[in-house]
């Protein structure tokens, strides 16, 4: 839509549907500009929802949808939003989207809603969402803002899922509810009868929120020793 009406002066930077710049918007937040490990946003929910993979996965999807669409809506509205109340406007848009997602889920998949309504509500307060609105969507065009939102949601989700996989395996001896190792006949490896794994004990610390903080720390360490450029960023 906007592309057809751009004046020649601004066309020096060629507008592409999905060029190098657009790809960078999507990929950068997943690694070198990750919202959790580099921008250090959204750590709170990374501690709370990562004891198991399933809630982490739903949280990742819902945050990605909300960052994507709130970026899109705010970017469309950006010229009309009064500066003085822009944060309130942003918050209204976020809360609106999250409520709609929750209501639709409640009507069409009540059991999943019942399990995860807390998390979906929590994504209103996720600082990544508002951070991207302030930092990107307020000053950029809708399509790019949308990509930026999706990229940041995905970067956040990736960290969430990595931590959840580690915590569920080491803390509960399971993955996505599939029982791998533990002290009863329900598990794939029964530590009560197995001679080889009789020594194994699940790590109770991994169930507690503090373990996620250690894991985020380790992830940051790994990422920065791999990419020296990041060391002085924050």
């Amino acid at each position: 839509m906007a592309e057809t009406t751009v004046s020649p002066a601004t066309q020096t930077e060629k507008e592409e549907w999905f060029g190098k710049k657009e790809r960078k918007l999507l990929v950068d937040p997943i690694d070198n500009d990750n919202p959790v490990t580099v921008q250090v946003l959204g750590v709170c929910s990374a501690l709370a929802v990562t004891t198991m993979v399933e809630p982490a996965l739903i949280m990742a999807i819902s945050v990605t949808l909300v960052t994507g669409f709130s970026n899109l809506i705010i970017s469309l509205m950006r010229k009309g939003i009064p500066k003085q109340i822009r944060m309130i406007v942003q918050l209204v848009v976020i809360a609106f989207l999250v409520t709609v997602v929750e209501q639709v889920l409640k009507a069409y998949n009540y059991e999943v809603w019942n399990k995860l309504s807390v998390f979906i509500g929590l994504s209103i307060t996720n600082c990544i969402v508002m951070g991207r609105l302030e930092a990107y969507a307020m000053a950029n065009k809708p399509w790019r803002s949308f990509l930026d939102g999706i990229g940041n949601g995905a970067g956040y989700g990736l960290i969430l899922i990595i931590i959840a996989v580690i915590r569920e395996i080491t803390g509960k001896g399971a993955l996505m509810g599939f029982k791998i190792i533990g002290p009863s006949a329900d598990y794939l490896i029964n530590t009560q009868t197995s001679a080889l794994f009789g020594w194994y004990q699940p790590n109770g610390l991994m169930v507690l929120p503090a373990s996620a903080l250690f894991l985020v720390g380790i992830l940051i360490w790994i990422q920065r020793s791999r990419n020296r450029k990041l060391v002085d960023v924050s």
């Binding site: 709370a48 929802v49 004891t51 809630p55 009064p82 109340i85 209204v92 609106f96 169930v207 507690l208």
Partner: protein
């Protein structure tokens, strides 16, 4: 930008958002209500899912309502354990009863008429870590042995407190426990660090101390209102 612009902008924005949300919520409400009824009945039947003779998770909404209608008898008890005439147990909301003074509360009792005798389903409500928790306790017709239990909660932490509902091994522990010890009501305790009395105690969930002790207190307080009624049934 002028103040007038800001005020008009805010008014229009809030108006648009609230109208759209109102339509979304009202439009989906019938589905929410229908879902809730099925969910509530599934939760109650969940306490006796092994005695149902059918897999509850595979049952459709219609089958659940049908089963409930045909096999479940409903009784409402007042605070003294006397049956109340002309009330339906499924119409009672434990959340609403909780707000009344104790003497005015009514308690729903569901009696499942199975092939192997009746099972008595009691509704309990208590407090977890973040919000309310509740349970349906199924007692055998000796009014002493727990046949099964199912839990529900508003907002316990998944992986920790929410395990009361999500982990089938927690409710399984209650099966076969008895609520009377030498004729004295002791209920079933939820004990941190391992249950010792194998007839009246179960293990708590590690990492979820407050939810576990919430279940413990609920088991103590929630069963008592039903006991006088069971005493009268025993005498018959």
């Amino acid at each position: 930008m002028s103040n007038r612009y800001i005020i008009i902008y805010t008014l229009i924005m809030t108006l648009v958002v609230s109208v759209v949300l109102a339509f979304v919520v009202k439009g989906l409400e019938p589905m929410h209500v229908a879902n809730e009824e099925v969910f509530k009945k599934k939760e109650i039947l969940g306490a006796i899912k092994e005695q149902l003779g059918a897999d509850l998770t595979k049952m459709g909404d219609k089958e659940v309502l049908e089963l409930f209608k045909n096999k479940v008898e409903q009784v409402v008890l007042d605070a003294n354990g006397k049956p109340v005439e002309g009330e339906q147990a499924e119409k009672i909301s434990m959340a609403a009863e909780e707000k009344k003074p104790e003497a005015d509360r009514h308690y729903p009792l569901y009696i499942f008429k199975g092939d192997k005798g009746s099972l008595y389903l009691l509704s309990l409500r208590g407090m977890g870590l973040w919000d309310k928790i509740w349970a349906t306790v199924a007692l055998q017709d000796d009014f002493n042995t727990v046949a099964g239990i199912s839990f529900g909660h508003v907002a316990e932490t998944p992986g920790l407190g929410a395990e009361i509902k999500d982990n089938p091994n927690f409710p399984k522990q209650f099966q076969g426990k008895t609520i009377y010890k030498d004729g004295q009501f002791v209920s079933v305790g939820v004990i941190k660090g391992g249950a010792k009395d194998k007839n009246h105690e179960v293990d708590a969930i590690s990492g979820a101390t407050i939810t576990s002790s919430g279940v413990h207190s609920m088991m103590q307080a929630g069963l008592t209102p039903y006991l006088p009624y069971f005493e009268t049934l025993k005498k018959k």
